[in-house]
Symmetry: C2
Subunit: 191 residues, 2 copies
Amino acid sequence: MILDQSYHHSAILRLGKSGIGRGRPDIVHFCLLLALGAPLNSDNQLTCFVHSRDDHVITIDPRARLPRNTDRFTALIEQLYQTSVVPSTGPPLMKLRRESLKDLLNKISPDSIVALTSVGSPKPMEVVAAGLQEAKRPVLLVGGFPVGHFSDQTMKMASGKFRIDRRRLEAWTVVGRAIYDYEKAIGTERF
Amino acid sequence: MILDQSYHHSAILRLGKSGIGRGRPDIVHFCLLLALGAPLNSDNQLTCFVHSRDDHVITIDPRARLPRNTDRFTALIEQLYQTSVVPSTGPPLMKLRRESLKDLLNKISPDSIVALTSVGSPKPMEVVAAGLQEAKRPVLLVGGFPVGHFSDQTMKMASGKFRIDRRRLEAWTVVGRAIYDYEKAIGTERF
């Protein structure tokens, strides 16, 4: 799953005095908490990436236990921009590198790329999940934008573009529902 | 939906210097963000309550737009303990009163009370949701405890006690999945 933060407009926060533009760390935080806490992740069936608006990619160790406090998580992201890896000693939990979404996708080399976007064609998430389940290496793109949409370039990379509800859902709601429906589609054992 | 914070043991935080015990505001925060952002809530089919360990009940206006930052949300909860209602002017978004879970349930007068707990009998959430859908005034109890379980007293009030996964899921994961499955059970229109 790739959370894309590349094209939002109104709520660009600034990293203290360093002036590095970043997205909405609260959106990333909630999305990652939901994703990393999902049975799909405990079963090692999920890898999460965050693509930031300034073309950085954050990779998250599936075993990472993120801080529960958004400000502490944000501090970790700020540290990541300084040191490229956190924590500074021991096994890395998050890594940051300069990379475009296109290069990241080339590296993953998926056989299906689905973008969830309110400008996509309407399709219930469980139907989207059934499609993903047929792929060997599916990638799901979720927009972490407070406003705005995927860029045209990103939209071109996606083989399917769907909206799963007529309402504009929060990114974390989309992440939670997508993962749950995908677990059901692949038959994740619950008991 | 009632989020119960009454019986946790190890992670009792303190309200600044006032010394009022409270639960884990981050758990409440994430759960409420997920619940209030759900289509079920936009359709006016959901009411959220938080029951705290010191027998306070917080009612949340379904139209409340909560702060996205946990510390700001926590500050709001602290204010709530001082003033019983926030914001201090305009239509109230959250209200707090002294009330036991039993009294709250008596007032709601539900025809079905289901508690989700890791010590319940295993049942997939969509099956639990199908049961709730048959009730006229169902109440779902979710534990917001970092450790520990519902009290024996609470367990006795529930007509059904189920666990929806063999893993111990985070409270917000449970809230997100329960609401989504319930939406599907009652046929919430997505498009």
